[in-house]
C-alpha cells in the first residue's frame, strides 16, 4: 500500500483462536513504524463449527439386539482444507434419562456403532462437533430400540452351500457305515509311518512326537492328536518308547488320554505311563529350546511334527535333521510348509494332514467325512471353471447370458462372514 511518500505493509498473525493485526508503515528512506492491534482491542473470536446434520440412528442388522448404528453428514467445517472440527462426541439418552457420553469419533467420521445396549430400552442420540473452543450439538434422533434378528439373511447362500457339503458328508458316512468301501488315494508321507516306527524299534531309540504349539481349539492340533492315536497303538505293539513334550496344558491332558486309549486297544495298558507326555512352557521359543535339547540329548530315531507350527518350524526340523532322525511333518500353515519340505523326509501338505487320520484309521466316520469334503472341492472347482469362463466371455463379447451367470455366481459366493 502506498500513502504519499510512505509504503504500508499489512501483516496478519494468527495465533490459536484469535487474531493480532500489525500495521507496519515504511518510509521511502527505510524508516518504519509499527502499530499492533491487540486481541482485546479487536475481540475477533473464532466462530463455532457448524453442527453435523442428518443424524439418524438405525438398528444394526443381524445381531442379538445389542447394537445401534448412528450415521450423520459431517460438519461443513470438517472437509479437506477446513479443519475447524477436531472430532465428534456422541451423546446418548437411555429410557428418557439424561444425555451421557457414549463415545467419540475422529474428524471425517460419519458413523458410530453403539454397543452393549438392551432391547428393552429406547435410545435417543445427538452428535456434537468439537472445535478448540466450542462443542456444537446436532438435532436429536428419534427414539429407537435395538432389534433381534434370528436369521442372517445376507448369509443364505453360505448356508445353502454349507448344507449341501454337510449333507454329502453325512451321506458318505452313512454309506461307509453300511459297508461300502470308500476309496482314498495313496498319501506318500503316511506310508512311511510304519517304516519310521519300525526303524526306531530296531535302533532302540525313542520316537519324538510334537503336536505343534497351539491349543486344543486349533483343528491342526486335533488332527495331530488323531494321528498320534494310530502311531501310539503301533508304538505299543512294537514296545517302542514315545516322548512327547507339549506347550499347552490342555494338549498334555488330551495327548495322555489319546496314548492311554491306544495302549489299551493294543492290549498293553500296563506299559502306559503319564511320563510319556510332559508340559514344557507356553512360551514359543522356550518350548523350542527345550525340544531342541531333548533332540540332541536323547537322539530319537523318528520325529513326528504334526500340528500348527510357526517360526519354530525350521529350528525344530533342522535340529531333527542334524541328528539323523527320520522326520514326518505336516501342517496347514502355508508359510511353514516350505521349511518342512526342505528339512524333513516326508511332509503332509495342508489338507493331507486332515486326510491322514482317515487314511490311517480307515474308520467309516472319517472316510465318509473325507469323501464328503471332496464333494465340496468338486463344487468349488466347478464354480471356478464356470465363473472364469462366464466372466471372461461376458466381458470379451458382452453376451447377456454370460454376464447374468457371472453376476449370479458373484452374488452366491459373496455371502461370506466379515
Amino acid at each position: 500500500m502506498t500513502d504519499g511518500g510512505r509504503r504500508t505493509r499489512l501483516t496478519v498473525v494468527v495465533l490459536a483462536a484469535c487474531f493480532t493485526i500489525s500495521i507496519i508503515a515504511v518510509s521511502v528512506s527505510g524508516q518504519s513504524e509499527t502499530v499492533s492491534i491487540a486481541p482485546a482491542d479487536t475481540a475477533i473470536a473464532v466462530r463455532p463449527p457448524a453442527p453435523p446434520t442428518s443424524v439418524v440412528a438405525e438398528d444394526y442388522k443381524y445381531d442379538n439386539a445389542k447394537h445401534l448404528v448412528l450415521s450423520w453428514v459431517p460438519s461443513i467445517d470438517d472437509q479437506p482444507g477446513r479443519t475447524l472440527v477436531l472430532g465428534y462426541r456422541i451423546f446418548r439418552s437411555s429410557g428418557g434419562g439424561a444425555f451421557m457420553p457414549a463415545g467419540s469419533a475422529l474428524p471425517g467420521a460419519s458413523s458410530f456403532r453403539d454397543e452393549r445396549l438392551s432391547k428393552d430400552s429406547s435410545y435417543v442420540y445427538y452428535v456434537a462437533a468439537v472445535s478448540a473452543t466450542d462443542t456444537v450439538a446436532s438435532i436429536k434422533t428419534q427414539a429407537i430400540s435395538p432389534k433381534r434378528e434370528y436369521l442372517h439373511l445376507d448369509l443364505v447362500w453360505l448356508f445353502v452351500i454349507a448344507f449341501c457339503i454337510s449333507s454329502s458328508v453325512i451321506y458318505f458316512i452313512w454309506k461307509a457305515r453300511a459297508g461300502k468301501k470308500l476309496f482314498v488315494r495313496k498319501i506318500a508321507g503316511l506310508d512311511a509311518v510304519d517304516e519310521a516306527i519300525g526303524r526306531a524299534t530296531e535302533m532302540g531309540r525313542p520316537i519324538l512326537f510334537i503336536p505343534g504349539i497351539q491349543d486344543m481349539d486349533d483343528v491342526q492340533t486335533i488332527a495331530g492328536l488323531t494321528i498320534l492315536g494310530r502311531v501310539a497303538k503301533q508304538i505299543a505293539d512294537y514296545d517302542t518308547r514315545i516322548r512327547m513334550p507339549v506347550s499347552r496344558s490342555l494338549v498334555m491332558t488330551a495327548a495322555r488320554e489319546t496314548i492311554k486309549a491306544a495302549y489299551q486297544i493294543a492290549g498293553r495298558p500296563d506299559a502306559y505311563s503319564d511320563d510319556m507326555v510332559n508340559y514344557v512352557t507356553d512360551e514359543q521359543f522356550g518350548y523350542v529350546a527345550a525340544v531342541d535339547g531333548i533332540m540332541v540329548r536323547e537322539k530319537p530315531a523318528t520325529i513326528f511334527l504334526l500340528g500348527a507350527f510357526f517360526a519354530e518350524s525350521l529350528i525344530l526340523a533342522e535340529t531333527g535333521n542334524s541328528i539323523g532322525a527320520i522326520q514326518i511333518a505336516g501342517t496347514a500353515r502355508p508359510a511353514q510348509l516350505p521349511f518342512f519340505i526342505a528339512a524333513c523326509d516326508f511332509t503332509l501338505i495342508g489338507e493331507e494332514l486332515f486326510a491322514a487320520s482317515a487314511y490311517l484309521s480307515g474308520e467309516p466316520k472319517q472316510l465318509g467325512s473325507l469323501k464328503g469334503q471332496d464333494v465340496g472341492k468338486g463344487l468349488a472347482m466347478a464354480a471356478i471353471l464356470l465363473g472364469v469362463l462366464s466372466v471372461t466371455l461376458g466381458q470379451a463379447f458382452d453376451i447377456g447370458f454370460f454376464n447374468w451367470l457371472a453376476d449370479g455366481l458373484s452374488t452366491i459366493f459373496s455371502a461370506a462372514v466379515e
Binding site: 453360505l158 452351500i161 454349507a162 470308500l182 476309496f183 482314498v184 488315494r185 486344543m216 481349539d217 483343528v219 486335533i222 490342555l250 491332558t253 488330551a254 488320554e257 514344557v280 512352557t281 507356553d282 521359543f285 522356550g286 518350548y287 529350546a289 527345550a290 531342541d292 535339547g293 540329548r297 517360526a311 525350521l314 502355508p334 508359510a335 510348509l337 516350505p338 521349511f339 519340505i341 526342505a342 495342508g350 489338507e351 486326510a355 473325507l370 469323501k371 471332496d374 472341492k377 468338486g378 468349488a380 472347482m381 464354480a383 471356478i384 471353471l385 465363473g387 472364469v388 471372461t392 466381458q395 470379451a396 457371472a406 455366481l409 458373484s410 459366493f413 459373496s414 455371502a415 461370506a416
Partner: protein, 215 residues
Amino acid sequence: MFWEHFALWVAAFLTLGIYSFLYKDNPWYKLCESIFVGISAGYWFVTLFWDNIYGKFWVGVFPTGDAQPDYWLLVGAALGLLMLLRLIPKIGWVSRWSLAFIVGATAGFYLINYFSSNVMRQVQDTVMPLFGPGFNASAYVIIGNIVVAVGTFTGLVYFFFSKEHKGAFGASAKIGIFFLMVTFGASFGYTVMSRMSLLIGRIDFLLSDWLGLIR
C-alpha cells in the same frame, strides 16, 4: 547404573549361550535353556492367572461400579474345575467333559469362519476375467489372472483324495503340485529374509548395546 550394566551382561551371556547351540549341545546352552524354560513357564502362569482367573473371571462375576455381573463365566469356571479333577485319579475321567466341550465348541465356532474364508472368498477371488472388454487387457494382467485361476483349480485337483491321480486328472494334479512348490519356494525366500532381521536384531544388541562397537 550398576543394575543396568548387570542386566546388559546377563542378557548378552544368555544370548550367546543360546547361540552356542550352533556349535553343539553344551553346559552353557543347558543352563540358558533351563533358565529360559523356567522363567517363561513361570511368566505364563502369572500372565494366565491375572488375564483369565482375575481379569476375566473375577472381574466379570464380581464387577465394580455400574457393570453387570456376567454369570455365564461360572460355567467356564466349573469346566475349569472339572479339569483339576485329574489330580484325583478315581474321578479324573470327568475332565474329559471339559475337553469334549472345548473341542466341540471350537469346531462349531470355527466352522463358519473356515468355510467363509477357505471356500466362499477363495472362489470369489479366483473368479476373474482373463481379458477385459473386447480382449482389452495387458499381458501382465492376463498372465496373472491365468496363473491364479489355473493354480487354484489344479491345486484343488491335487487335494482331491477320493480319486486316483491318473491320466488327465493326474496330470492336473502334477501341475497343481508344481504351482504349490513354486509358491513354497517364493515363501521360503521371503520368510528367510524376514528371519534374517531377527538375527540382525540380536547381533545389533551384542555389538551396539553390549559392546558399544556400533554407535
